[in-house]
Symmetry: C2
Subunit: 351 residues, 2 copies
């Protein structure tokens, strides 16, 4: 068995620390260092627990292995690990659940890239470009089954049933997103329903799963679920801001990528409500074979003028704040502090 | 909730009976009548247990509902029902497992139709044509999750783990089939590996699940698994013969459909081994935008001349015979006779 390269440090933390050191958030940089110290060994265990790609593996396994080998933020496993550390700690069972959370996420990325005809992911060609759409569909199925098997084997009561419900919510949110594809009249409420189902539901499960595997009582685990739900919305709102205001050098993503895939981001939805004259400009960017750079810049200026980017950032901060507030029900601990750091870092991340 | 139309009688049985009455198998027609009497109520319960499509349902639910509403042979639920009847009988728990088997099958059809760009299924446009490829991918995911939830809720020890393994086998067989796509040097052994994984594995699980839910002891349930495995290979070999020698009016499928999707059928693999001069003819049919009717007829004549269609039928009959032989370990019963009838009908079916 060939093992995949292990990241020397959790990629999100490393990149975020670099940014924070040189920027306006020296406090956060130090706290990220503490977070890294706390979960470094846990995340190495997660990397080791991911399915390995054997040299003679099938196309489906190699397609899944390609995506997993590219790293990623491993934010969902980090949630499982920290929630477990609020209880008896991060053990082999929690590691299985952390791996399962990452595999579910990876399965959705494989299917999403087929659906969106995505060409680049984590700075590399997508699995579907390397192995074909068909193989990527089955690779997603394969990771989903692997994740469910791990959750079943972990044997923590109630987790498998909750994951089935979370998967339903994720799939129905994908369905809603497809139905709203390219529709400039998408509302903020619809955006929130999609964000809650597609993104927040799995964060919620990761927190609950970690907590219960660490023996945290069900009531406290539900408090942590609320943390996960708010963290997820904060994460998605930040993602949406980065699609319009991120540095393409850093995010590895061209501006308006979401829009070109027919996804209406939160700041764009707000902008269209506030400046109806923006609609034809945006429609042109969606429909153009190659979007015109000047038209993009013009649209971006108008979007900024509506104040919607600032409001989207505010939404992200509000949900990060709510996530942290939920934690106040817990006694102070290193893991609790680390979760506060995760919430802050999520809305300050550059990628 | 709108209920879907219930078939007045199991479609496979109805169609098969019509055929057998007018043909050379009067004995089978009578036995199919007895089989229909035995499982009619069970199959009505399965139809009732399928997920309903609400009028306000999401695109994903409507896409899945479209496929399920078209009927189909319901052969996997029938296996669950008859295996349960070998024990304490077909109850609500067995019905859930029977529905789960059908949902797994439907999920694979939804993903297969996206992969193969299928346009027609069960005499109607495919879900992907009506709702789009993206929706059909998520609809398959949704049915898979629903099936697993039902198996988990049925609470019969060992069934969920076995289903995870069966799903792995199905996905890896799909992967192998994709890797062999359009490869005229595919071997009979590779065909068998694909048939065992893609088709037989789920029949095997259906038999085991039904038996265990009916309280049949694990040893006997494993005998029934062997029945399912052989039935599945017999079913696939018959399917492959029908792709070349079926009546397109009856099967609703143009000749050489499998080949045009890059799938090498068993008789074609045998023919290519026996008549190497056939390869360029077959390659032309695969690559042509619209296959030439005269070329197809010519290829078909050469395939027939190799005796491979007869040998493929013989393979199907051999496996049906083995399936029936496995049943001899069981005491005689109406359910055992009905399973013998299923094996005979599978290799004599016109569709």
């Amino acid at each position: 068995m060939l093992s995949q390269p292990l990241s020397p440090e959790p990629p999100l933390l490393g990149r975020l620390q670099t940014l924070c050191r040189g920027a306006e958030l020296p406090g956060l940089a130090a706290r990220l260092g503490e977070l890294a110290d706390l979960v470094a060994a846990d995340l190495v265990a997660v990397e080791r627990g991911l399915p390995r790609t054997r040299p003679e593996a099938s196309a489906v396994e190699r397609s899944a292995g390609h995506l997993l080998s590219l790293g990623g933020k491993r934010l969902r496993p980090m949630c499982v690990a920290l929630a477990a550390r609020l209880g008896t700690g991060f053990d082999a069972r929690a590691a299985e659940l952390a791996v399962a959370a990452e595999l579910i996420h990876a399965a959705t990325l494989l299917h999403d890239d087929v659906v969106d005809l995505g060409e680049s992911r984590r700075g590399a060609p997508t699995s579907r470009l390397l192995f074909g759409n068909a193989v990527s569909i089955f690779a997603g199925d394969w990771l989903l089954v692997d994740a469910l098997r791990r959750v079943r084997n972990a044997g923590v009561e109630g987790l498998l049933e909750r994951l089935f419900d979370v998967l339903d919510q994720m799939i129905l949110a994908e369905s809603l997103q497809l139905e709203r594809r390219g529709r400039l009249d998408t509302t903020a409420a619809q955006w929130m329903a999609i964000a809650e189902g597609k993104t927040a539901a799995l964060f919620r499960w990761a927190m609950y799963a970690g907590a219960r595997s660490g023996g945290v009582d069900p009531g406290t685990a539900e408090v942590l679920e609320r943390f996960g739900a708010d963290l997820g919305v904060a994460f998605q709102a930040t993602d949406d801001v980065l699609d319009l205001a991120g540095d393409p050098q850093r995010t590895g993503k061209a501006l308006f990528t979401d829009l070109r895939e027919g996804k209406l981001t939160y700041p764009l939805i707000l902008s269209l409500e506030r400046d109806p004259a923006l609609a034809p400009l945006v429609a042109d960017i969606v429909s153009a074979e190659v979007p015109d750079a000047a038209a993009c810049l013009d649209a971006l200026r108008r979007i900024e003028a509506t104040g919607s980017l600032e409001d989207a950032r505010r939404l992200a901060h509000r949900h990060a704040g709510r996530a942290k507030a939920a934690l106040l029900a817990l006694p102070p601990s290193a893991a609790r502090e680390a979760l506060e750091t995760v919430a802050d870092a999520t809305v300050h991340r550059p990628v």
